[in-house]
């Protein structure tokens, strides 16, 4: 957790020129605002455990395949439906494919969908939020748009979108990339609204502060004002939204896969593995457990991380 927080910290915390903030970091690593945040974050046991577990899962699914080199699509029909053995620690599925390898391949897809969709939702939400908060003229329009999106029935629309665009996108980008783009975009454009609302609220409050007035009085243009002065100061709600966004995106992707409307059947994701395993629930209940536990524990760890981050970033709590 140190790595993502620190570098973002030095640049984001001070609205000062980057060269100066580099200096402060090198000379006096001590009392940057983000060190306080990190200190507070460390005291939240659940958050630290969640962060370590999330890093462990990410490492396991991305580095694991280099150590556990069995091909997840290799069919060994003689070894089908095996329980956990040394050759296959998680057992094998009904076609004799190694479950551990499939879990890692599925995790790669699920986590990269989660991260990309979160990034897209965050980008859209921050864009709308900052624009609405900063420019009074388009505030009403953008917030009505946000309200409209919030009133849409999201899961049905997601299902409909996946059904509609599956064929054309698969045809033009290949089945895997096409569905990846489709699912990321679908999740991204249906989950940016909470971020937009929170960011707008914060920007509205920031606009009344003296340093914004000072910056404006020396003739700072709106674009520069947003990038240099406003955006760094709304980082904390954005970061909290980011962690929660990962959790939502992973769950949504798995739900789509579980309903049979996600990735193609031969392309494993955690949701898809869970869906396939439900057919053999009576004979091999453990096969349901692996993907289910992976989804739940990843989401749980991300949620704990978000919880700790929110406490750490809230100055009212940090003071205690």
């Amino acid at each position: 957790m140190t790595d993502p927080v620190e570098p973002a910290a030095a640049g984001a915390a001070n609205p000062a020129p980057p060269a100066l903030s580099e200096d402060t970091r090198a000379d006096a690593p001590a009392r940057n605002q983000w060190w306080d945040v990190w200190d507070q974050f460390k005291t939240h046991k659940g958050a630290v455990m969640g962060a370590s577990f999330f890093i462990f899962v990410v490492a396991a699914v991305y580095i694991g395949p280099y150590i556990w080199t069995i091909d997840p699509t290799y069919i060994d029909i003689r070894a089908r439906n095996q329980g956990p053995t040394w050759a296959h620690p998680f057992g094998t599925d009904q076609l004799g494919r190694d479950m551990l390898a499939r879990m890692m391949a599925g995790g790669q897809t699920s986590i990269s969908v989660g991260l990309t969709a979160m990034a897209l939702a965050l980008f859209l939400g921050t864009l709308v939020g900052v624009l609405a908060g900063y420019f009074k003229r388009i505030d009403g329009l953008l917030m009505r748009l946000t309200d409209l999106f919030l009133a849409l029935p999201l899961l049905p629309l997601l299902l409909v979108m996946v059904m509609l665009f599956r064929q054309p996108l698969s045809a033009s980008f290949g089945p895997e990339t096409g569905i990846f783009i489709l699912i990321v975009v679908a999740i991204g454009i249906t989950s940016w609204m909470p971020t937009a609302r929170i960011v707008r609220g914060d920007v509205l409050a920031l606009k009344e502060r003296e340093f914004v007035l000072a910056a404006r009085s020396i003739g700072t243009r709106p674009g520069r004002m947003i990038l240099r002065h406003v955006l760094p100061n709304v980082m904390s709600p954005i970061m909290v939204s980011a962690t929660l966004g990962i959790a939502t995106a992973i769950i949504t992707e798995s739900a789509l896969s579980f309903l049979g409307l996600g990735f193609p059947p031969d392309f494993p994701t955690w949701g898809r593995l869970l869906f396939d395993a439900t057919d053999f629930m009576q004979q091999h209940p453990e096969r349901v457990m692996w993907p289910g536990l992976a989804i739940s524990l990843t989401v749980l760890s991300v949620n704990y991380m978000g919880d700790g981050l929110r406490d750490a970033l809230d100055p009212r709590i940090r003071g205690l």
């Binding site: 409209l148 049905p156 299902l159 979108m161 059904m163 509609l164 959790a247 309903l259 289910g292 739940s296």
Partner: protein, 340 residues
């Protein structure tokens, strides 16, 4: 208050029209063809006539307006005339599903009782469990009870229904003895007619698992809200005043604090009602409850555009309606936020 309510009602209308436009246009692009399922021996010109008769020949905006009229006027009038008999049903054709060739609304009304029974009951159960948990957690902040409650609600947040549901089935349907008390059926039997004590017991037993899965999620969310809201109020000055006046602790907590804390919680409860219909799609699929959520999935898989349009629109109406209720409730309960 009345002007506020009327203003909120009026703003709901353009919202609904806009949402209906989005839903209609999205589904209008659907690749499915209603004549694709018909035998190949039908000559192309007849096939074209069938498409025309389903109303597919008109330009988009005409079809949208016709659909809107049918959704907003013809269908409600039909049911009104059926229910009251004051006037003849409208002459226009009903909204027909491409998949079942039956009126979409009839199918929805057939399936609505199951959804309301399972989903509605689970919501009530969830709220009833969540409120005391939230109150005690806040009153005894950082106690063992609070820590446990936080952990359990975190788990409720994190375990998606498609895993908790499957897990329940494994525990209570697969691994339990068939004769034991703790065995519960994993499939919801809609054909069951409740007419005796025995069938009532069967009905209750088959509702246990889906209700548990849905209630876990509701409990997790509402108890968090209740706790946060109670904590906000417990540190207020009026609480100190009440204690200083010598009121008993139960009066302070249950009368003064609870009433004020309930204001945001009540609106959250109202806002959660349409969301639970959306979440129930997955739960209905797992436990094979043939409610509206399951109907939506079946219609999507069969590219049955009229059914999907109608269902999505009904979900949207529910969301807008309960948003409205939440806003009005907030205005009634907390006079400080009224706009007028």
């Amino acid at each position: 208050m009345l002007t506020y309510t009327i203003r909120r009602l009026l703003t709901a209308i353009p919202t609904l029209i806009f949402i209906s436009l989005i839903i209609f246009l999205l589904l209008d692009m659907a690749p499915g063809d209603p004549t694709a399922q018909l035998p190949l021996t039908i000559p192309p010109e007849v096939r074209e006539q069938i498409r025309q008769s389903l109303g597919l020949g008109e330009p988009v905006h005409i079809r949208y307006l016709l659909w809107l009229k049918q959704m907003m006027w013809s269908e409600p009038m039909f049911y009104l005339s059926q229910a009251t008999g004051w006037f003849d049903p409208p002459e226009t054709a009903r909204l027909i599903s491409w998949q079942t060739r039956a009126p979409v609304m009839d199918t929805i009304f057939e399936r609505l009782p199951q959804t309301i029974m399972v989903v509605g009951l689970s919501y009530v159960v969830g709220v009833l469990i969540a409120l005391p948990i939230g109150i005690i957690s806040a009153y005894k902040q950082y106690s063992v009870f609070d820590q446990t409650g936080t952990f359990v609600s975190m788990i409720g947040f994190s375990i998606p229904p498609f895993f908790s549901g499957v897990l329940m089935i494994i525990i209570f349907s697969v691994s339990m003895d068939r004769d034991s008390f703790w065995w519960f059926p994993s499939i919801y039997d809609t054909t069951l007619v409740v007419d005796s004590w025995e069938t009532f017991k069967t009905q209750v037993r088959q509702m246990v698992l889906p209700v548990m899965v849905l209630a876990l999620q509701t409990t997790a969310q509402i108890s968090r809200f209740m706790r946060a809201s109670m904590l906000d109020n417990l540190n207020q000055d009026y609480v100190r005043t009440a204690r200083a006046k010598g009121m008993t602790e139960s009066v302070v907590v249950l009368k003064h604090v609870l009433r004020n804390s309930m204001i945001p919680v009540v609106t959250v409860i109202a806002l959660g009602i349409p969301a639970i219909f959306g979440g129930a799609i997955i739960t209905e699929q797992i436990f094979k409850v043939n409610g509206i959520g399951q109907f939506l999935i079946v219609s999507i898989q069969a590219s049955d555009v009229p059914s999907v349009q109608t269902l999505t629109f009904i979900f949207a109406v529910l969301i807008v309606f309960f948003n409205l209720i939440a806003d009005i409730l907030y205005g009634i309960l907390d006079p400080r936020i009224r706009y007028d």
